[in-house]
Structures are given as structure tokens and as C-alpha cells.
């Protein structure tokens, strides 16, 4: 029995992680893992076998074909398209320092967060993951070697029985370089400063408000509320509000949204986990929905191009985002403030969730500021925003010219992958804010 298509992915992953809390090294660990995953496609069904004990490839392929045969009995008979790719090899230099040196830099960064006696607890952590990926199928072979790393800093401030938390983090593909220079120290001070200012912050007014989202929160919005709804597997499952809307105007004309795996940000990859060399994709242009994100299977079904098939470890590659962002507009931040006049400025994200079928989203900001007469006023805490994705896209009335992409991790179906998401500052004319 022969497969219609098969591929083999071998990975070797070397992780290390450190955490320093209140000057004490709390955590040091290192791991070395590898796995092989073989997929076979036959008559519309997939069979997938993975193992971390150097299996005999041919035997595993036979096993995978058997499973594919089993699943094909109930599958729709779809045809998997072929994509011609040349052999490919890339090594991205992400330099890693010696552990001792990384630790001493991290100690200095933690020190920068201790700006005040009200700061009662500080923590800095760093992790790096070096991945060597070998991909092959019946007609070509590809390889890359990439080091992703990141750090986070958190500070807890206490005063008069009140306790508040500030945190900043950064992820990239530059190895240990990410913790060098002034930037981590600036972020450490920022995290600490936020925790102290939140002690005296008030609750925001609740109800429908005119708001500005900063680049981080704007990025989370576009990733969660729009990006996920453009993943073609979600669309095909009937779970997306964007189903059947390609070519339709779904948002303000100021809105352009792209997904770009070729940008050297945290969501970068030279080829996806199905061996496809990716391209930048326009998701929304001038408010019109342009396309979805595909892996080989959804691209075959909808006759589009793949390049966003990503997997967490030995899991199955599914359509995922890479670096997803709203493109720059032409307004300065001051102009956006004037446009809002009276409202709330929401900064950072403490997490969020969406329901792609109903198009509902909910995010919590790290902090916010009251805007009065176009001027930034006092800080507000525990502020959340929620709404309907399509309504919100239509009510974006201002787009800044200061795009910034932040690294982070995205979870879907139990799989976590590194991504970048970003936006310039955005003005939404009406958004539901949760507060006191």
C-alpha cells in the first residue's frame, strides 16, 4: 500500500530556563529532546505516528499508512495538492551566552525593577529554545536551525493593604542578545512603575466608551478577534464569523491586516511544519476581507496557497498565525487623543479570549488612563473590554502611524506556538468597558 502523500519531520530541541526572584535564583533547568513524526495521506484520510525513540522510518511510514487507511474509510475523498519546493537549508545565528553570563545580566535587570520601597517582590525569568528542524517528503528535503528566546519581568507593589502587579515581557529570535542593552532595564522600571501607580489607581467607568488601544492591546485584538477567525480550518468547520465573507467589506476602510511569517519577529519561520516556504498574506485590505490562513489540507480544499501549517512539537500542523498585525495608518498619537476627546486609553494585555463562531471577544488590559478633553489623565485598574468583532472593526475611526509587534504565545486545540502580534495605536468609537 502506498500513500498519496507522506512527509517526515525530525526535530531536536534544546531548552533552557532561568528564574530569579528577590535576588535568589529560583529556577534553572535544561532539557534536550527530539522526535520524529511521520504523516501519510491516503484517500482523504490522515495517519500520523510520532515517537521520541529514533524509530525506523520505513516501519513507521507503514504504520502511518495503515492509520490513514483506517481514517479514509469515513473521510470525504479530497485530493491533496502538490507544491513544488526546492531543497532548502538555513541557519539563523541566535547567539547564546554562557549560562553564568546570562544569569548575571538577569540579576542586573531584576535590580532595575527595585525602584521604590513599596516594591515588595520582583521576578525575572528567561528562556531559550533552540530548534533544529529537518523536513522531507518524497521529493525534497529542508532544514533550519533557529533559536527563540524571551524574558519577562514582574513586580508586586504593596501599600496600606493594597497589592498590585506590573509585568513586561519580550520575545524574539536573537538568542541572548535580547537581554542585552538598555531595553530590558527600561521594561523592568516600567513594570515596577506600573505596579506602584496601580496602587492609587481608580476603577474605570463602565459602559460604552470611546477608547484608544495601545499597540500591544491592538495586536491582541487583531490576533484573537480577527486572526483566529481567518484560520481556514475554523472557517471550514463553520466556526468562524468570517465564513463566506471574502471580498466583503467587514471593517473600516482604514484597516489593513497582514500575516507575515517572513518578518524577523517572534512568529518568524523559514518554512512551515509542512515544508512550505511561506509568504506574507493580506487578510484585510481597506476594510475588505482578502483571505484565510491555510495548511496543505485546507489550501487543497479551497484551492488556495498553504504556508501557515504549524505544529507544537510532534502534534499535527494546523492553520496558525505567524506575525499578525494591523498596518500603519497616518495619524499621530496626539491626533488620536484629540479624536477621542473624552474616553479611556487602554494599555497592554493581561490575556483575552474569543468565541470565533459568535464573534465575541473579551480582553483585560494591564492598565488604562482616563482621557479628558484630549489629555491623558489618571490611571485606572482592572479594566476589561469586550464586544462583537465585526461591530468593532466597523467602529475603528483612527489608526496611528506607530506599528509595533510584540512576541507571545498562542494556544489552539492544546497546541502552543510562538507568534508576533501588533498594531499601531487605534481609536474605537464605541466599545464596552468593564469597570466599577
Amino acid at each position: 500500500m502506498q500513500a498519496d502523500f507522506y512527509d517526515v519531520r525530525r526535530c531536536e530541541i534544546e531548552n533552557r530556563a532561568f528564574a530569579i526572584e528577590d535576588k535568589k535564583i529560583e529556577h534553572v533547568s535544561s532539557s534536550l529532546d527530539h522526535f520524529t513524526v511521520v504523516r501519510a495521506f491516503l484517500d482523504g484520510g490522515w495517519g500520523i505516528v510520532s515517537s521520541n525513540s529514533d524509530p525506523d522510518e520505513e516501519a513507521v511510514l507503514k504504520d502511518a499508512i495503515k492509520l490513514a487507511k483506517l481514517s479514509s474509510k469515513r473521510s470525504k475523498k479530497i485530493y491533496l495538492k502538490r507544491y513544488e519546493i526546492k531543497d532548502f537549508k538555513q541557519k539563523i545565528e541566535g547567539r547564546l551566552l554562557r549560562e553564568e553570563d546570562e544569569l548575571s545580566i538577569l540579576r542586573e535587570i531584576e535590580e532595575s525593577a527595585k525602584i521604590d520601597e513599596r516594591i515588595k517582590n520582583t521576578k525575572v525569568s528567561f528562556s531559550s529554545s533552540r530548534m533544529k528542524v529537518l523536513y522531507k517528503n518524497d521529493h525534497h528535503e529542508e532544514f533550519y536551525d533557529l533559536c527563540r528566546s524571551g524574558y519577562s519581568i514582574s513586580a508586586i507593589a504593596k501599600e496600606d493593604g493594597e497589592m498590585q502587579y506590573g509585568a513586561e515581557r519580550e520575545y524574539g529570535i536573537e538568542g541572548s542578545d535580547i537581554i542585552e542593552g538598555d531595553r530590558p532595564h527600561i521594561l523592568a522600571k516600567k513594570a515596577a512603575d506600573t505596579s506602584i501607580k496601580l496602587l492609587k489607581a481608580s476603577y474605570p467607568p463602565s459602559g460604552k466608551k470611546r477608547v484608544i488601544l495601545d499597540q500591544e492591546l491592538g495586536g491582541v485584538f487583531i490576533h484573537e478577534a480577527v486572526g483566529h477567525a481567518t484560520e481556514a480550518d475554523i472557517v471550514l468547520a463553520g466556526d468562524s464569523i468570517l465564513e463566506g465573507k471574502i471580498g466583503e467589506k467587514i471593517g473600516s476602510e482604514m484597516i489593513n491586516v497582514y500575516d507575515d511569517p517572513t518578518m524577523m519577529e517572534y512568529g518568524y519561520y523559514p518554512f512551515d511544519d509542512e515544508g512550505i516556504i511561506p509568504k506574507r498574506r493580506a487578510l484585510i485590505e481597506d476594510g475588505v476581507l482578502k483571505g484565510y490562513l491555510h495548511n496543505r489540507e485546507t489550501a487543497s480544499v479551497l484551492n488556495k496557497e498553504p504556508g501557515n501549517g504549524r505544529a507544537d512539537g510532534d502534534e499535527v500542523p494546523i492553520p496558525r498565525m505567524s506575525n499578525t498585525f494591523i498596518g500603519d495608518g497616518d495619524m499621530k498619537f496626539e491626533e488620536l487623543l484629540e479624536l477621542v476627546s473624552d474616553g479611556v486609553y487602554l494599555c497592554g494585555s493581561r490575556g483575552g479570549e474569543v468565541s470565533t463562531a459568535e464573534g465575541l471577544f473579551h480582553f483585560n488590559a494591564k492598565k488604562g488612563y482616563i482621557i479628558r478633553k484630549g489629555e491623558i489623565g489618571g490611571m485606572v485598574k482592572d479594566v476589561s473590554l469586550s464586544g462583537n468583532t465585526l461591530e468593532t472593526l466597523k467602529t475603528i475611526v483612527g489608526v496611528g502611524n506607530d506599528l509595533k509587534i510584540n512576541g507571545g504565545h498562542c494556544g489552539k486545540e492544546g497546541q502552543t506556538v510562538p507568534v508576533g502580534s501588533g498594531s499601531p495605536h487605534l481609536v474605537i468609537s464605541s466599545c464596552l468597558i468593564g469597570g466599577e
Binding site: I25, H27, V28, S29, S30, S31, L32, D33, H34, F35, V37, G44, G45, W46, G47, I48, V49, S50, N52, S53, L67, A68, L70, S71, R74, S75, E99, K120, I156, K158, M163, Y165, S206, G207, A237, G238, D239, E248, D314, R350, G351, G352, E353, V354, S355, A357, E358, L360, H362, F363, N364, D382, S384, S386, N388, L390, E391, L432, G434, G435
Partner: protein, 418 residues
């Protein structure tokens, strides 16, 4: 049918007691063990001496505590399942969805796990156990297409609450899951949620389904009872003996719970599992500890060192957190004017330190005089978990195991809804 997958992995997590601290490293290659032990030593050395580190769990110190067997965590029927039978389970999920008119499947999954683990240390600990697990989930959608020309003209099909989705799942360590019921539940919930109405802001009594309740316990309570967080002042809780919950509320962490997701005779450091009352009729009785944090506090481990897999470091976590209440009844019947919430969107955005949360409810229904009246289109619950603990007055009989949290639905009085 999308595919059938199987995966196998094994590996070694190594901790060494070296130079006055412990170091951790892991590998999946047995040939590599010696080198990785050196890496663990290096990691211990990098950390430097730690006066609070009292060494590994010993077999001697817990001689009085007999290692008990846990029932119901291994079922050979799960191991014996073949691919064909697994596919039949997935078909049962789909049949369950199709049995509800007008609903469509978004997806469904059935998976099984067989795991075997072994803990050995130089203090004489030598433990071994195996477990099985089966999991099934289904997600369904219901489309309430607006066919009027005005709707089409305005292109408001989706804005008009055109589609609703819902999800249900079950997890067990024995082959006792009714897959068709999972599909039917998800489909019914999606269908019943359509044509939701808005409700007025105000204070309402809430019934939280086991899933919604578990989301709050998982994201806030588990953090608050973690001995390390308490010690570092990052928990709302500090003093044992305080009344922190409703006088009828008892919360037990039980590593020996029959068939529990987190059940094993010993924890991931080899410490014997047992019952640990966290809340007894509203009174805070204990926190949860691993051996390191317990040693630092001059206490004994509570058997709460948990590893996600061999490559992760043991960390403090609940085993099976079991929520119960002296008042048991049907919480919906007891409610005069309130809201039933099936799950929350974004429970992980809650503030685990202060307990504040503002969360969108999903698949929520208005309840009047003990009866479900209509679905609610969109609502946000704005509250504080620690206040909510005091307001839990009745528990249902619909106990569900949501991974390591086991809870019935609960009736919570007087919460703020926007």
C-alpha cells in the same frame, strides 16, 4: 474524519542534590543520561547554596504513612481499544449532535492515554504506577439564519445573533463515557442559546455550571492556596483558621480520589498521597505544599508536587480539588430571579492575586421562579472570587470532573452583571 494519530514518548527527568541545592535536567535519550546528570549538577551549582533546601523526600520519614492504592485509575479496556473502535466513538459524538435538529458539528475528538511512571531516589524512594485516560469532546453550532430581505440588505445575518456554538466534553480514567450524550449536550446547548435577549444590568443570583465554577477555581483559588504563593505574600489568604467561605462550603484536595485525573498513590516527588482539607465548612484549614516549600516552612509536604511530564520540574498544584456543600439541591429550582452561566470566556484573565474578575458569560440563560426562561445574548459578570466564595449557598447533584477540579453546579448569591 480528519485523521488518526498515535504518539509515544518516554524520557527521564533528573534532579540532583549537589553543592547545597538541587538542579534539574531532562532528556529523552537513555544513552545521554550521564551527560544530563552533569548538566543537572551544573544547574545546581549555578543556583548556589540554598539554606532552605532540605533534600529529597525519604522513604524513612513517611514510614508511618502507608502508601495507599488508588482505585479506578487504570482500565485495560482503554488499552485494548483499536483504531476502528475509536472511530466508532467519534461517530457517536457526531450522531449525538445530529440527533438535535438544525445543529451542525464543528468538531469532535476522542483520545486515549496510557502512561507509566517511575520515581527513584537515593533516599530509598522507589515507586511505580500506571494510568489510563479517555477523553471525548464535541463542539456544535446552530445557525439561526435571518431570511428576511431587510436582514440581507443590511448584511446583518451574523450581527443578528445568527450563529451560536457550544461545547461539551468528558474525561475519565475508565471506559465509561457516553459519547453520544456529549454530542447531544453540545448540540442542545448551542440550539437553546439562539435568539438570545439582552438583560438589564444589575445584581443577580447566579448558577454556575460545573464548567464555569471550575474555571474560577482553577484560575484563582488554586493560586491562592499554593503554599509558595502564600509564603511570598502573593495570595489573598494568609492565616489558617479564618472564615473565608460560606459556612456550608467544604473543599478537599484528594490525591487518592477514586478515578481522579490527579490520582496516584504518591506525588511526583514520591511523597504519599492523601486527603487534605483546604476549607472545612468555610474555615481555611490548610494550604498545599511540595517538599521544598514545606521544608522551608517547617511543615510536611502535602503531596502536591506535580509534573506535567518527565521534562518538567515538579511544581505545587492541586491533585483533585473537590468542591462540596452542606446544602445540596437543584440550584436552578432554588433561584427566583437569576442567571445560569455555562462557561466563561477568558477566565484566565482573572486577577489571581486580588481575585477580581470581569468575564463574559457563554451559553447563559435567564432563570425566573426556578425555571429557565430564555437565552441571554451577552453579559459580563463583574466580581471578586473571594467575595463569591462566601456567597455560595447551594450545590447541585451534577458533579463533574473537569480535569483536576471536581465540582457540582453552584448557586452564588447577589453578583454584579453588566
Amino acid at each position: 474524519m480528519e485523521g488518526v494519530a498515535k504518539s509515544s514518548s518516554r524520557g527521564f527527568g533528573i534532579r540532583v542534590n549537589y553543592g547545597g541545592n538541587f538542579g534539574f535536567a531532562s532528556t529523552d535519550d537513555e544513552k545521554d543520561l550521564e551527560k544530563r546528570i552533569d548538566a543537572a549538577k551544573k544547574n545546581a551549582k549555578l543556583k548556589g547554596r540554598d539554606e532552605d533546601w532540605k533534600g529529597f523526600v525519604g522513604a524513612e520519614e513517611d514510614k508511618d504513612k502507608r502508601r495507599e492504592k488508588v482505585e479506578g485509575i487504570y482500565d485495560h479496556h482503554i488499552v485494548d481499544l483499536n483504531g476502528e473502535e475509536m472511530i466508532e466513538f467519534v461517530e457517536s459524538l457526531m450522531e449525538g449532535i445530529k440527533s438535535v435538529n438544525g445543529t451542525l458539528p464543528i468538531g469532535g475528538e476522542v483520545s486515549t492515554v496510557r502512561e507509566q511512571f517511575r520515581i527513584i531516589n537515593t533516599n530509598g524512594i522507589e515507586e511505580e504506577e500506571k494510568r489510563t485516560m479517555i477523553y471525548g469532546s464535541a463542539e456544535a453550532s446552530f445557525r439561526n439564519d435571518c431570511k428576511s430581505s431587510i436582514c440581507k440588505l443590511k448584511n446583518q445575518r451574523f450581527l443578528n445573533d445568527g450563529m451560536n456554538s457550544a461545547y461539551d466534553f468528558a474525561i475519565s480514567r475508565a471506559l465509561d463515557i457516553d459519547f453520544e450524550e456529549i454530542g447531544r449536550n453540545a448540540a442542545n446547548l448551542a440550539k437553546n442559546s439562539s435568539k438570545g435577549k439582552k438583560i438589564r444590568s444589575g445584581r443577580y443570583d447566579l448558577v454556575l455550571s460545573p464548567l464555569a465554577a471550575s474555571e474560577l477555581f482553577d484560575n484563582i483559588f488554586v493560586h491562592a492556596i499554593n503554599g509558595e504563593e502564600v509564603m511570598k505574600g502573593r495570595s489573598k489568604f494568609s492565616n489558617l483558621g479564618e472564615e473565608v467561605g460560606n459556612a456550608g462550603l467544604t473543599i478537599l484536595d484528594d490525591g487518592l480520589f477514586k478515578g481522579g485525573c490527579g490520582s496516584t498513590p504518591f506525588d511526583d516527588e514520591g511523597f504519599p498521597s492523601g486527603k487534605n482539607y483546604i476549607l472545612d465548612e468555610g474555615i481555611l484549614k490548610n494550604f498545599i505544599y511540595d517538599s521544598y516549600t514545606a521544608g522551608k516552612e517547617g511543615k510536611k509536604s502535602t503531596g502536591n508536587a506535580v509534573r506535567a511530564d518527565y521534562s518538567s520540574f515538579p511544581e505545587i498544584d492541586v491533585r483533585n480539588l473537590i468542591v462540596s456543600h452542606n446544602e445540596v439541591g437543584d440550584p436552578i429550582e432554588e433561584m427566583r430571579d437569576g442567571i445560569l452561566i455555562n462557561s466563561f470566556i477568558g477566565a484566565h484573565t482573572s486577577n489571581e492575586i486580588t481575585g477580581d474578575f470581569s468575564l463574559e458569560g457563554k451559553n447563559a440563560f435567564k432563570v425566573e421562579r426556578g425555571e429557565i426562561k430564555y437565552p441571554i445574548k451577552s453579559l459580563m459578570v463583574y466580581g471578586n472570587f473571594f467575595d463569591l466564595l462566601k456567597a455560595i449557598v447551594i450545590a447541585g447533584r451534577d458533579i463533574k470532573m473537569v480535569y483536576d477540579i471536581v465540582t457540582p453546579s453552584i448557586l452564588v448569591e447577589d453578583q454584579r452583571v453588566i
